[in-house]
Assembly symmetry: C2
Homo-oligomer: 313 residues x 2
């Protein structure tokens, strides 16, 4: 019997990974609010740089997870992690007793609220390294990368996680397993914490230009993230900063998700990436002056977005 | 006999203070490059919020200080302090043996290159707290404030400095004397170091919004400037941070000079205000992580301006 999957928050990322799971034979439904009408009528058209073009018609297209007419084996949350999104409520609405909760989202310590709200459910934490854009309603462009990393909370890898991996692999996308996904999240934060805010604060410079001109600042932020992770009991490999620096030099010019959100004047994942890291630092008594400055500046940029919105009203 | 004054770098600030000195009866000539033609023909029209409107016709209008047909009692340098301005060369071109060099400019430790280049000349360091805009060629709008502080280098107040003060006072502008102008410069930096970069990095927020939302960050930068000043042997009064915070809350919404330069995509005084402070910190072994982050981010914004210029070429 095919796995029943409910994607909650089917924007570019959710639509893309949902489309891959459907390709692999799963029974995939989606909750999507803003593009509901078109997706209900036409599904998604996905255009991938590496996997070709395909049409993804979800089994059910829903405005709200509570309308789901089935019991999900996997409920996969793909929304952004911002203050205007109630992740717990979104998950609760679509959950059955045996559903495994998966979240493919950015940030550190974002699992806590889900662990607390759903202590009886299996939880899979997922990290995506992917560039996907929503071109228009129901149309997704997969521009680069695509790799997923999955792991159970608080640790380990379950049979259901392996089964989910198998689906992604069958669809042709790289999918790794992590026995310690919390540490993996901190590892990803080593890259996100400098480049996401710096791309916005620099006025939209690509990662390479940031690195070529302010490598010292990038390294300093990376070091602070490593210090926090170690303080939280998740020491990162010693080589991680060097590896991130070298691989970013090798990357093609890349616009971070925070920069894309900022350019569209959307909510940015400031709390998920920076705020949560800083709260962890405070809890553990780790000094993070540079990260604090980035966070404060990003809060000012967020304020600027809010003021711009009010002006338009 | 009237004082002979040569204003070098007669933009909005130089034109305004030159116009005041002429009003007070001094014999004022100007070096102004970009607006030479119009100023030569028509002089300056100055429109002040507090002192009315007046026409300022300089005695000589020059493209270069070397063309000055007289011997200046005061050579007053009013250019911006940026890497594309050779202050020493600008001063040298117009200098006579008995000329006192005055500079009315932003930044800390900007006196060093002038002291080294002109060890035989009296040097007056001047700080302006003023909002002046160039509306168009030859037209200056004085929007707010106007206060000057003058003092000799390395310390003290000379008769010539008192004489210059008398001229400004006669013209109706507030002018204070400082027995320790180097310390006064650090005091001004306590305000400039946070608000100039933050106004740019926040995306153009006025000082009040910055303060209301990130007072902690502002205080931290101010504290780092106080630490540097103390490390350099210029301890600032304990109340200075509190006073700056309170007076900024009381100020009308204010666009910093760095924000105005940024909006016009002009060179910004990043080195004069931040770079010099950081080099002093390094020299004295003072920790300044927040200021370093501001500096690094401003260098990225400067790079962005340069890239924009290249695109236009």
């Amino acid at each position: 019997m095919n796995d029943k999957i409910l994607i909650v928050g089917a924007g570019a990322i959710g639509g893309f990974y949902g489309g891959l799971l459907a390709k692999a034979g799963a029974d995939v439904s989606v909750v999507c609010r803003s593009d509901y009408d078109i997706v209900k009528r036409q599904g998604f058209l996905i255009d991938s740089y590496s996997l070709g073009r395909w049409h993804f018609q979800p089994r059910q297209v829903l405005r709200d997870a509570s309308e789901y007419q089935d019991e999900a084996d996997y409920l996969i949350l793909c929304s952004k992690v911002t203050s205007d999104v109630d992740r717990v409520a979104m998950v609760r609405a679509g959950l059955s007793q045996h559903s495994t909760i998966v979240f493919i989202q950015n940030g550190v310590e974002i699992e806590t609220e889900l662990q607390q709200a759903f202590p009886e459910h299996e939880l899979i934490s997922g990290l995506a390294f992917v560039c996907c854009n929503r071109l228009q309603a129901g149309a997704i462009h997969h521009l680069a990368y695509g790799k997923l990393t999955l792991g159970n909370l608080p640790k380990g890898v379950s049979a259901k996680t392996r089964q989910l991996q198998a689906l992604f692999l069958a669809a042709g996308i790289e999918c790794l397993l992590s026995e310690d996904i919390v540490t993996s999240r901190w590892q990803k934060c080593v890259w996100n914490a400098p480049f996401n805010p710096l791309s916005v604060l620099s006025g939209g410079l690509p990662t390479l230009a940031i690195l070529q001109n302010q490598e010292h600042l990038v390294r300093r932020i990376m070091q602070e993230v490593c210090d926090i992770a170690a303080g939280c009991g998740h020491p990162l490999p010693e080589s991680i900063i060097e590896n991130n620096i070298q691989s970013t030099y090798a990357m093609p010019p890349y616009k971070t998700s925070m920069l894309l959100d900022f350019e569209r004047q959307h909510s940015m994942e400031i709390e998920a990436i920076l705020g949560n890291a800083l709260r962890a630092a405070q809890r553990q008594g780790v000094a993070t002056p540079t990260l604090e400055a980035m966070y404060a500046l990003m809060k000012l940029r967020e304020l600027q977005i809010q003021l711009n919105r009010q002006e338009k009203c």
